[in-house]
């Protein structure tokens, strides 16, 4: 399968995506960086750990990340899925990963990822974004600049009360 690299936003820059998402029913590629579902990780963890290339896991927003706390060190990236932009559970998932579980590598927003939520995603711990199909990635980049004043600490500790 010839892969045309998609573009994503990573650390506020548009870059080529160096990961591919492998569906549950597709064969694992020999090499390269891949995302697999949490179910596939659970059923094929030995094969996945033995591969070369980076490994990412995709979490549904209903997962309590504390359940996979012991596995976090094996993941090079974690994607959290937004089934629809107005389902806010993934914000909590990302914050728990970053703040509670101390996960430091990439947390990627996937699914219905839109400009007007992207800043909130970043403040909850996401640092990579696969913008929804059909939406302009350049426009999405503007979402980071919309609001610069933050009244409360999230994963960032740059809230206004500390600056006053």
């Amino acid at each position: 399968m010839a892969t045309c690299f998609m573009q994503i936003i990573r650390n506020r820059k548009i870059v080529d995506d160096d990961f591919v998402t492998v569906p549950n029913d597709a064969a694992l590629p020999e090499s390269g960086n891949i995302f697999v579902s949490l179910e596939r990780w659970r059923s094929e963890r030995d094969r996945l750990s033995a591969r070369s290339g980076k490994l990412g896991v995709i979490l549904q927003n209903t997962v309590d990340p504390r359940e996979i706390a012991d596995d976090l060190a094996t993941f090079d990236a974690i994607a959290v899925h937004f089934p629809i932009y107005r389902d806010g559970r993934a914000f909590s998932v990302a914050r728990i990963l970053r703040q509670r579980l101390g996960y430091e590598r990439e947390i990627r927003a996937v699914g219905n990822v839109l400009r007007d939520q992207i800043l909130f995603m970043e403040r909850c711990g996401f640092d990579a974004y696969q913008v929804a199909d059909g939406k302009s990635i350049e426009s999405a980049l503007g979402g980071f600049e919309d609001l610069t004043v933050t009244y409360q600490d999230a994963i960032d500790a740059r809230s206004v009360p500390r600056q006053r």
């Binding site: 914000f91 909130f120 919309d146 004043v149 409360q152 600056q163």
Partner: protein
């Protein structure tokens, strides 16, 4: 009151610019209506029956005269010359145009106002006692904690897309709750325990189609943990609240489904990990916030309790107004005055642009430029010299805002109903007006005493019908507007939910039904001092059911 610094000012400016961009992207088609909808809602913009409606935030109900003048100007320029004060201490404009809304937000930003999070599935305006800072019965002014909570909740990145809306209220006056705290998603009650000041945390109250009184989740929370604890409650709700059914998505349903004990366990487990984080409030921040709400420059005066008593003991209009619309004040020589927005002929809570301008002028003359909005849809001048009551009364009479009906049957809460709202099943304002006219005799209203009548045009309960001593709910019965009557509700610390006693009434019979309830109460009360709610609780529902649905009027043969 709270005043903006450069950060607050920048935030509201950025928000206005962001919304302007969102409107442009909607108009260009880059945003679909579905994508735009939650964005406009989080800015208080609804699409109603006839037009857009913009809900402007009035944090915990506090307004300056400058802000009131701006509201007058905005109502005049961009709307039809009036605004509607709501049960959550906000102001609604019923007729703005979408393309004008960014301009309105710019204008509001000039006077430290906005429409942030006045709708949508996020944390809404923080509300409290309209007498905060002046009430004799308060432990301390709750507004510094309201402002801390307002800032924490504004654009909170984790809690902008909750399962459903989320409302927080503060009460600092013990049993005399004037903020309907127990009908909020979170109610925070300021309490003392063993000499330490802190909070009781009540969770899972609400009205709507499933009225629920909140549960006490934490008996004592030290002050420094307010934000970390709120955050723990919100996180549990964000993760576990139902998203499959909009009618079961409020936190009250989650608390009922898990049970308060399990809910408490989940929250405490979450909180255990965050209570010592940067969310901990330091004393300096609390003190800084208190500084914004320090007392105005009161004159040093002797107690005016005796003077107020004298004014009240007269028999004219001033005396009655002073009895019904004026309350004692913490500061010697001062009183707090309620301006009734329940003038016969005007929908409850409505104020015209010219009235707003004059209210602003009077606030400058009599009340240090301060005004507060009550959840019963009236206004308060919190700091009036008792010696100036007579003069203020004359000015308010001229303005049509001195109707002496506070706490009386005509001091109704009423939702906009089918005249404006696209959720309503029935009209509510015309019923309110009919009741106002039927019971216009103020002697009769005074004889009835303390009575809270509340009207909603549909089961979403914006008019708080469940907690009215007398509640009226508009329903659609085979295409015809009908009204369900319920009795015995209370929004206070003694919270109770009204009971439906029988079939609903068509529009032409509902006011008559209310009148029969009132006659029954007057006949059954032990003394004129026994208020309607006390009588109802003492005698129970049977006599009222008899009078409403029996063959004979109970009142006709109970006493001669």
């Amino acid at each position: 009151m709270y005043t903006y610094d450069e950060y607050d000012q920048k935030l509201v400016r950025e928000r206005a610019a962001q919304f302007r961009g969102q409107v442009e992207r909607r108009l260009s088609g880059e945003l679909t209506e579905n994508e735009f909808k939650p964005l406009r809602l989080q800015n208080g913009l609804y699409l109603q029956l006839h037009a857009y409606m913009l809900r402007i935030a009035i944090p915990y109900g506090v307004l300056s005269s400058t802000q009131m003048r701006k509201l007058a100007e905005v109502s005049r320029t961009y709307d039809r010359g009036y605004g509607h004060f709501t049960t959550r201490q906000n102001l609604q404009l019923n007729w703005p145009k979408l393309e004008d809304v960014p301009k309105i937000l710019d204008e509001l930003a000039e006077v430290e106002m906005h429409a942030i999070q006045t709708s949508g599935n996020c944390i809404r305006n923080i509300t409290t006692d309209p007498l905060a800072g002046v009430a004799r019965d308060e432990l301390e002014d709750p507004r510094p904690f309201c402002e801390i909570t307002r800032q924490w909740s504004t654009f909170h990145p984790e809690f902008a897309f909750l399962p459903r809306k989320f409302k927080i209220a503060f009460n600092a006056s013990g049993d005399n709750d004037r903020a309907a705290m127990k009908y909020h998603d979170i109610g925070v009650k300021i309490v003392d325990r063993d000499g330490e000041r802190g909070f009781e945390i009540w969770v899972g109250g609400g009205m709507g189609r499933t009225p629920v009184i909140s549960k006490l989740i934490r008996e004592f929370l030290p002050r420094e943990h307010l934000i970390s604890y709120l955050e723990a409650v919100l996180r549990v709700y964000n993760q576990l609240g139902r998203r499959d059914n909009i009618y079961k998505a409020r936190i009250k349903i989650l608390v009922n489904e898990t049970g308060p004990d399990e809910f408490r366990r989940l929250v405490e487990a979450e909180w255990e990990d965050t209570k010592e984080s940067s969310l901990r409030l330091d004393e300096a921040e609390i003190e800084r916030m208190r500084g914004f709400f320090s007392a105005p420059d009161y004159e040093s005066l002797p107690s005016s309790d005796e003077l107020l008593g004298q004014i009240r003991s007269g028999d004219g209009a001033l005396a009655r107004w002073a009895r019904n619309n004026v309350v004692v004040h913490k500061q010697p020589g001062y009183s707090a005055v309620t301006l009734s927005l329940k003038e016969p002929g005007t929908p409850p809570g409505d104020l015209s642009d010219s009235q707003m301008d004059t209210v602003a002028d009077l606030a400058d003359t009599y009340s240090f430029g301060e005004i507060s909005v009550t959840h019963i849809q009236n206004l308060v001048f919190p700091h009036v010299k008792t010696s100036e009551l007579e003069s203020l009364h004359a000015d308010l009479v001229a303005l049509g805002l001195a109707t002496p009906n506070i706490g009386r049957i005509n001091d109704m809460i009423c939702c906009p109903g089918l005249d404006f709202c696209n959720l309503a099943n029935a009209r509510s304002i015309p019923i309110a007006q009919e009741i106002t006219e039927r019971f216009e005799d103020i002697d009769y209203q005074d004889d009835l005493g303390e009575l809270a009548l509340k009207i909603s045009g549909c089961i979403n309960a914006c008019g708080h019908h469940h907690v009215g001593h007398i509640g009226i709910l508009g329903i659609d019965k085979r295409g015809v507007e009908h009204y369900q009557l319920m009795l015995g509700g209370s929004a206070g610390d003694d919270a109770s939910i009204g009971k439906i006693l029988g079939r609903s009434f068509p529009a032409e019979e509902i006011v008559e039904a209310v009148e029969r309830v009132l006659k029954t109460y007057v006949d059954l009360r032990e003394s004129p001092e026994e208020a309607f709610l006390q009588t109802f609780r003492r005698v129970g529902e049977d006599p009222f059911r008899d009078t409403l649905y029996g063959d004979v009027l109970y009142a006709d043969h109970s006493k001669s």
